[in-house]
Symmetry: C2
Subunit: 210 residues, 2 copies
DNA sequence: CGGTCCCTTGAGCCCGGTCAATGTGAGTGG
DNA sequence: CCACTCACATTGACCGGGCTCAAGGGACCG
């Protein structure tokens, strides 16, 4: 699927769940007046669009950030798979629980961290999650398919302020982010600025992505 | 369990999941320096502490806000239940998906709404979710076991500012919140201030809680 | 090589934070 | 039934991080 394509939109009643095989997908919500919040960056392995108990309409949308390959699983099929293979049920539950946990961490970032901390946290998170996909790979430079506006939407800031924060982080020789190219100059200080305890940070570097 | 008791703490590796039968539980995270974010208010029916794929430590804690009754289900037991009853798997998946969805909505609130909107949104949410537990009940006054400080922690504000916002909402005759007693004076304007489309708001009033 | 995103930077403002003092409700023990 | 206490709520003065508005300056693409 091409860049910009919607996997599903706000307000739909989803009949299928999506399993992301490759590429990046943004999960986002909108307010009436157009304010946007990016609530999650889905990376390969992610499961998206699982319906909630009440047959409510879905409150968030999913859009391809890059070229994307997804497998689409109709709800009916999901039901039979869960019936046939309890192992899958367990994995699905874990994956969903992980999504919630990541969401809680983002919420904390947005609610309680300063702009500088939020940006550092997001970059660190994207770096480690992205990197986790090529185990053994220690690149310090990678392509993150995001504009500063999207970083703003993810962190609850305006893109103008994101720009200023990125400037200072660059000036401080901590990270360099320019036209979607991310280079971590000083991992330790980045972890420090992000306000993550180093212990936790280390474990991030060994974890799988989703 | 008594008020203030922890069901589980940040950093633990959970061996059991919890099903809340009655009472209120806060799910919260902490930053190193003590800043706190309440990420969820769990109401009866909620499932808490589902472990994530990677055997990572849990990044949030759960604490009883009121007297609480929970059923504790060891992970091992959960596995066999999922094996025996695929129906449960489906329900668990839906419940977890719902948690994620609620988390996304909160994130949007914190990231993109003004203080006034956030507080209105939270009160409205708690009102409808709490109310959904006694179907057919149309009380306009209820006890919400929260201090203004906790409202602040949930909305990403300071309790001082929460107080000011509540003052204006009271002066505007929209809601009255005083010493844990919540009275909705003007539901329509509350929905408007919260920035929820009335359509969605209506559906909230028919939905079950979790 | 023109167009279109995207990034960058400046000036000024305001929402929400900080610090600090005071008020108030509700239980507790005398 | 009153006095005490302690947690919670309220209010004021002032401050500053992040937003708004606005005007350029690159980078990439056809």
């Amino acid at each position: 699927m091409p860049v910009g394509r919607d996997l599903f939109r706000i307000g739909e009643t989803n009949k299928s769940i999506f399993n992301l095989l490759s590429g990046w997908v943004v999960i986002y919500t909108l307010l009436e007046d157009g304010r946007r919040q990016i609530v999650h960056f889905a990376l390969p392995g992610a499961v998206m669009g699982v319906p909630t108990s009440n047959g409510a309409k879905i409150s968030y949308g999913a859009q391809a950030l890059t070229e994307v390959v997804v497998s689409v699983i109709p709800n009916t099929v999901l039901a039979t798979v869960l019936k046939d293979d309890p192992e899958v049920s367990m994995r699905l539950a874990s994956t969903l629980a992980r999504d919630t946990s990541i969401a809680y961490d983002h919420m904390t970032s947005i609610g309680r961290r300063t702009a500088r901390e939020r940006v550092a946290y997001l970059l660190l998170e994207l770096f480690t999650r992205h990197r986790a996909q090529w185990p053994g790979n220690h690149i310090e430079e990678m392509v993150i398919p995001l504009t500063q506006e999207q970083i703003g939407d993810a962190t609850g800031l305006t893109f103008v302020h994101v720009n200023r924060v990125l400037s200072t982080l660059r000036k401080d020789k901590i990270v360099h982010f320019h036209y979607r190219r991310l280079r971590i100059l000083d991992p330790d200080r980045l972890i420090e600025v992000a306000g993550i305890d180093p212990q936790t940070a280390m474990s991030w570097f060994e974890r799988r992505s989703t």
